[in-house]
Structures are given as structure tokens and as C-alpha cells.
Amino acid sequence: METIKNVKFRIKRWIPEDGRFRVDTFEVPVFKGMTVLEGLIYIKENLDPSLSFRRSCRMATCGICGIVINGKPMLACSTQILHLQSDTITLEPLKNLPLVKDLVVDHTPFFEKQKTIKPYIIRKNDLDEYWNPTREYKQTPREVEEYLQFSYCLTCALCYAACPTSGTNKDYLGPQALMNAYRFIADNRDEGLLLRLEIVDSPDGCWGCHLAGSCSDVCPKGVDPALAIQILRKMVVEKDLGYLEERKGAQLVPPLPYVEGVEKVEAPKFTVRGAKKKAEEIQTKYLS
């Protein structure tokens, strides 16, 4: 590849042995189309093998390479160096998360908060079908569009790092968790509306948002958490006023008509060892 220019990488590294930051500068030859992640890999291979950063898919699908580039949280793999139009690039680890080493942060608090809003379909009536699915639930294309935008989330924690409320309140659920709560509320198969609204109805939940809009601004997948949180708030108010009632989840599609000469395809078996046993345990626990 033909080198276009040399770009300085100013990397703010967390040194866990000393418990402080250190700023290191590296000069990287840049070719056309080179991403920041490729620059980091160049530094690790040629200049400083001790540099730590996370990466996996290098195509904005896994969402692990999120770092603060020139003050703005971005995915290193989908940001081209030449598009930044500066000779010096400042790199920092993501804000609002515990530091591990150099550019690596610990995403545990972020994922723990996502767990609290129960990010899965909740069914209350047909538990037998829920644990041993035989058919799919009815869903029109319009009903899919209600939550499709929010299901594109990578859990890259960029919104969490950009949020000013997360920066001052450690207990704030964060844009991603609240957006995920709305994603499951908007799903017509779900029956956990009131349960989730109870979880997010707190100063650390949807009322902590002050509509700074940075979460939507930094999102690499156009998920728009800011919109989801405002709709969530509207729903909480509607619930308190008594307008909102628990919706009945989508019904199963009718069984396919029997066609002569076509054999019925068996449902796939449980591929994880012990999964069926555990599912049965949970099922008996719920039904009793």
C-alpha cells in the first residue's frame, strides 16, 4: 500500500501497576482506507508490543473496539484515519467504565445493567409452548419495524461512554439498557410491559435522561437510544395515568396443513449439553 502521510497517535494509556495514565506518542504511516484499528495493530506489531486494546471482527459487528478518538467515542474498526482530517489523533479508553489496561476497559457494569431490565421475551400464559416451542408467533412486517431499529444494538458501550448522566451517576442504567427495555416492550410477542416499566421508572432509570442526545449521535448502528428513552417515559406516564394496560402477547401461527407426500421436518434438538434438562427444571418451577 502506498503511504499518503504520517499521522501521530497520542495514546492515553492506563498503567495498572502505577494506577495512573501515561501518554505515549507513535508515528504511523497511513495508506488510503486505513482504519484506526489498523493503526493500532501497526503500533503493536512494529513499535510497542505492550500496547493493549480489544478487537475481534474488524468490521463494526462485534462492537468491542470502542475507544475515544479525538474526544468522541467511536469504533476503531469503522473509523478511517484520513476521514478524521488531522495529523494527530488522540486515543483514550472509554469513559464511565472501570479501566483494565491501556485502552482496555471492563464492560461488566454495562452488561450487569442490561441484565436488570430482563432482555428476553417474557410470556405469562403459555409457558409450555415457551419452553418447548413447536411453532412461531404471529408478527406482521409493521410490528417488526416497531422494534427492529433497536435490535441492531452491538452492546459496544459507546452510548454509555458518551452519556453525561452516566458520567456523574454510577447507578444510572444508561442509554443502552433503557433502549433495550423499550426494544422488548415494543415487541408484540412480549408480555412483560408493566414489569419492565416498573424497573425503569426511577431516577436511575428513564428519569435520569436529560435529552443530551449524545447516545444517538455516537451510535454506529443508528439505534437511536434517545428516541427509545423518551417513548419509555411517555409510557411510564401513561401507565401512571391508567391509560396503559398489559398487552396480550402474539398468538401462535396455525399449524401447517398436511400435504401428502411431504414428511414433517423434526425440530432441532438441544445442541448445548444439559440445556434440555435445565429447561425442564425451570418449566416445572414456573408451573408449580
Partner: protein, 155 residues
């Protein structure tokens, strides 16, 4: 045994952005600046309220004390300070109307199928028109306030 001795303690830190993170950086979106100004004007108004209570409470010590404290603030510089306070109040109020409307889900629109380049709801026409109309409303109120304050000293 030796391993335990050689084991080093690794320090970690919850890297919270804190209050400095309110402004973000210079490449943030418009709503982030409005958010920052809303916070700053809110804090400023609380300080003004404390000052206002101190000044008016001087009436407790008799009429002469009240008139003395008023003679201290009866000058153009204090009135310019009042103008700044009023500007902050107008911004806080006008932006507050926008926030009340948007934060309860009004004038925002609906989720749509994500197609690249992705749409951000706050950058679509209706929320931006709301901001623009609030800027116009704010400037009209500011001109009225400036006129009222100038009337005292010029005319």
C-alpha cells in the same frame, strides 16, 4: 511462596467523566450544548435565588437597612448583571418548554427501519424546528427585557 511475593498489585479506576463530561467535546451534537447551558443556567439561577433572598431579607432589620442594600444595587452594572440573569432565565425557561415536549415523547416521530445513512430522530425536521422556534421566542423575550432595563437608565 516466591510467587506471592513477586505478585504485583494492579490498580483499577472507575473512569467516570464526572462534571467535566457535561460539555463532552467540541464535536458533539447541538442538544449536548443545550444540555450544558441548561445545567449552567440552572445552577446560576439557584445562586441568584440565594442572593435575592439575602437582599430582600434585609427588610427584617428595618426600612433603612432595606433602602441601604437597594442603594448598593441601584446602578447600571448591577442592572447588566440582572440582564445576564434574565437571559439565563429565558434560556432555561424556553429550553425547558422544549424539553417538556420532547421528553414526554411529543414532536419526535416514530421508530423506522434503519437504512444507511442512519437517521437520528433529534436531527430530523420537527425537533430542529422546535429548537429554532424556541430560539426565536427566546430572542423576542430577551429584547423585551433589554428594552425594559434600558428604559430605566436611558429614558
Amino acid at each position: 511462596m516466591g510467587f506471592a511475593k513477586r505478585k504485583r498489585k494492579y490498580k483499577t479506576k472507575y473512569n467516570l467523566a464526572g462534571t467535566a463530561g457535561w460539555i463532552g467535546n467540541l464535536r458533539m451534537n447541538m442538544e449536548r450544548y443545550l444540555y450544558f447551558l441548561h445545567r449552567i443556567t440552572g445552577i446560576g439561577l439557584v445562586f441568584y435565588l440565594i442572593l435575592h433572598i439575602i437582599i430582600t431579607s434585609s427588610r427584617m432589620y428595618g426600612e433603612s437597612a432595606y433602602e441601604y442594600t437597594h442603594s448598593l444595587i441601584n446602578n447600571p452594572i448591577a442592572d447588566f448583571g440582572l440582564f445576564i440573569v434574565m437571559a439565563g432565565l429565558i434560556f432555561h425557561g424556553v429550553n425547558g418548554i422544549r424539553l417538556i415536549l420532547n421528553e414526554y415523547g411529543f414532536l419526535l416521530g416514530k421508530p423506522a427501519r434503519p437504512i444507511y445513512p442512519y437517521r437520528q430522530i433529534l436531527k430530523t425536521r420537527t425537533p430542529r424546528l422546535l429548537i429554532l422556534s424556541m430560539i426565536v421566542l427566546g430572542f423576542i423575550l430577551l429584547i423585551i427585557v433589554a428594552y425594559e432595563l434600558l428604559m430605566v437608565w436611558v429614558f
